[in-house]
């Protein structure tokens, strides 16, 4: 029998606000345990939560970009459960009137429907101490704002799931509402999965998988869990609806304890937070302020700059990189050259330093200047790469560096010609080899000329003169002006 896998996702995304959702404590990552806390986020009795304006704004922006309808009258609810990662014994979330509903995301020819998007607070971190057999609760993350984005069960493969998550991540990063760093837990994903005979219209019993902390883990967990369910059914057993935890090391999912599975959250309206009513003016203003997203940028780069699709994809992979590209081009750099530098040297330099594009010290004027010097024939490309390396970390002055290190390309054609003459004269064997058809000998001669000129000549000019001379042409007129 052929089986079909049916998958729905619940994605939690941490919002990039300065403060928590209901109090003014910082959301900064890390920090000593319980140093980003106050009576509100540690659930002290008698405290009053107040909604962060920016959380609302970010949630609405995300909803607009994901083509959702925005709830004009939205409220919060209490989700009750006893677990010490939540000191209040309830999480403030949204059940009855979530901020956004009915969205959609297009992923390469397929539409994934968004069931809803709601705001809620993150929980704290628990670390068990085996020495004292007690658990330490750290509430620094408690109250950090999240949006939870719930899809319909529209995925059939792990590839579709990854494509959706990549699109989601890209969209939220461009909006500036989240940095979506999976390794820091700011994008987390629960996978609901069931299987059914291909062609069946009915949904099978699903399980929910948690603890998936990378795209790789998600793909493997989906493969494992689909297989497990198919085997159960094939053996005549039943799939039990339960929450399962993915174990990265064992490459398997296992059921969580039944008590954690007892999901009876007894939601009720949160009495401490008054409802939120959104005006049309508010929504219009946010709609108007939505930035150009990656897809639109890619289309524009192809249309306006004739950049290959691959280049567009690479450059728009990060909003800071795209902005860097646009600014460099605005300063006069030819788009394709700017793109080549960014995809080559810039990405290599960032990756060597394990640095995010947004933290890059190099600025667009510096790269634009470097590209201009190469374009004017004043720096050769190899030297320019060395200058790039030298100025990258401090965004140094390209002209000053070139001057101080005497790197400017030799533009005196007669100097190049003299060196070519000398090299040809002192390497008769290579000349003979070349004439006998050994192409390698040519590379050697180019190398010799470049070495004599300390790498400061334009390799194209050296190539051209060497070929001409080897073909029997005489030296160019000795008092030539600067190379055209």
């Amino acid at each position: 029998m052929t089986w079909e896998t049916v998958i729905g996702l619940e994605t939690h995304v941490e919002l990039a606000t300065k403060t928590k959702i209901f109090c003014s404590c910082t959301t900064a990552f890390g920090g000593d345990p319980n140093t980003h806390c106050c009576p509100v986020c540690t659930g002290m009795p008698g405290t009053l939560p107040v909604l962060n304006k920016r959380v609302l704004e970010f949630a609405v922006k995300a909803g607009l970009a994901l083509n959702c309808s925005i709830t004009r009258y939205t409220k919060f609810d209490r989700k009750n459960y006893f677990y010490p990662d939540l000191p209040k014994a309830y999480q403030i979330s949204q059940l009855y009137l979530p901020i956004c509903r009915d969205g959609r995301v297009d992923i390469g020819g397929k539409t994934v429907r968004i069931h809803e998007l709601h705001m809620e607070e993150d929980a704290g971190k628990l670390v068990h101490d085996p020495w004292i057999d007690q658990t330490r609760a750290d509430y620094n993350r408690c109250g950090v704002p999240l949006i939870e984005i719930v899809t319909e069960p529209d995925f059939r493969t792990a590839e579709e799931v990854i494509a959706y998550l990549e699109k989601l991540k890209e969209t939220l990063q461009y909006l500036g509402v989240s940095d979506c760093k999976m390794q820091e837990g700011s994008l987390r994903c629960d996978v609901n999965l069931s299987v059914r005979p291909a062609g069946s219209g009915e949904l099978g019993t699903r399980t929910e998988m948690k603890n998936l902390s990378s795209f790789k883990a998600i793909a493997r967990a989906i493969a494992y869990e689909a297989n497990r369910q198919i085997e159960l059914i094939t053996e005549g057993k039943r799939v039990v609806q339960e929450t399962r935890r993915w174990d990265e090391n064992k490459d398997a999912t296992y059921a969580m304890r039944s008590k954690e599975n007892a999901q009876d959250y007894r939601y009720f309206p949160e009495p401490d937070i008054p409802p939120v009513r959104l005006s049309e003016e508010y929504l219009d203003a946010l709609r108007a302020a939505l930035p150009e997203l990656a897809g639109a940028k890619r289309a524009r780069y192809q249309a306006d700059y004739s950049l290959p699709e691959y280049d567009c994809q690479m450059i728009t992979s990060d909003p800071a990189l795209a902005a860097f590209f646009e600014d460099t081009v605005a300063l006069g750099a030819p788009p394709k050259q700017a793109a080549n530098w960014i995809m080559g040297q810039v990405l290599a330099a960032l990756s060597a330093r394990a640095m995010e594009p947004k933290a890059m010290p190099l600025t667009p004027p510096t790269l634009a200047r470097l590209i201009a010097l190469v374009g004017e024939g004043r720096l050769n490309r190899n030297t320019a790469v060395k200058v790039f390396e030298a100025v990258f970390d401090s965004d140094g002055d390209v002209d000053a560096y070139v001057r101080e290190h005497g790197l400017e390309q030799i533009s005196d054609a007669s100097l190049v010609e003299d060196v070519v003459t000398r090299v040809l004269a002192s390497n008769p064997k290579s000349v003979a080899d070349f004439r006998a058809g050994k192409d390698k000998a040519f590379g050697f001669l180019v190398g010799q000329v470049m070495r004599e000129l300390k790498g400061k000549a334009d390799p194209r000019a050296v190539n051209e003169r060497l070929r001409a001379r080897l073909a029997g042409e005489g030296p160019a007129p000795s008092r030539g002006g600067p190379r055209e």
């Binding site: 606000t17 300065k18 403060t19 003014s24 404590c25 910082t26 000593d32 345990p33 319980n34 140093t35 980003h36 806390c37 106050c38 009576p39 540690t42 002290m44 107040v50 909604l51 962060n52 304006k53 920016r54 959380v55 609302l56 409220k75 009750n80 006893f82 677990y83 010490p84 990662d85 000191p87 628990l126 670390v127 068990h128 004292i132 057999d133 007690q134 658990t135 330490r136 609760a137 750290d138 509430y139 304890r257 007892a262 009876d264 007894r266 309206p269 009495p271 937070i273 008054p274 409802p275 939120v276 009513r277």
Partner: protein
């Protein structure tokens, strides 16, 4: 609504309360009376009445996204039942 002993067991488990047998009986009777009062309220015809989630006619109570220094940790932990310099200590909760 009939409150059964099983329901009381279930609710106390969700609330992490362990009730001695004799209290369970009292609890069952009390819960029955409280929930029973809802039956009285249910006699009212509320069709077309918007459910009220808040008593005061307030909307859009929001604050700016500006950091205020957090509470001193020692002060924050002072009221915790078990002493620890860094964290709130709770019974084993992690597998």
């Amino acid at each position: 609504m009939k409150i059964t002993t099983e329901l009381v067991d279930y609710i106390s488990e969700l609330s992490r309360l362990s009730l001695p047998e004799e209290e369970k009986a009292a609890m069952t009777a009390q819960l029955e009376r409280i929930v029973g009062y809802m039956d009285v309220l249910n006699r009212l015809d509320t069709a077309g009445v918007e459910p009220m989630s808040h008593v005061f006619p307030l909307v859009n109570v929001l604050r700016e996204d500006e950091v205020i220094p957090s509470q001193d940790r020692a002060e924050l932990l002072a009221g915790a039942p078990a002493p620890d310099p860094e964290a709130f200590l709770v019974p084993r909760a992690v597998e």
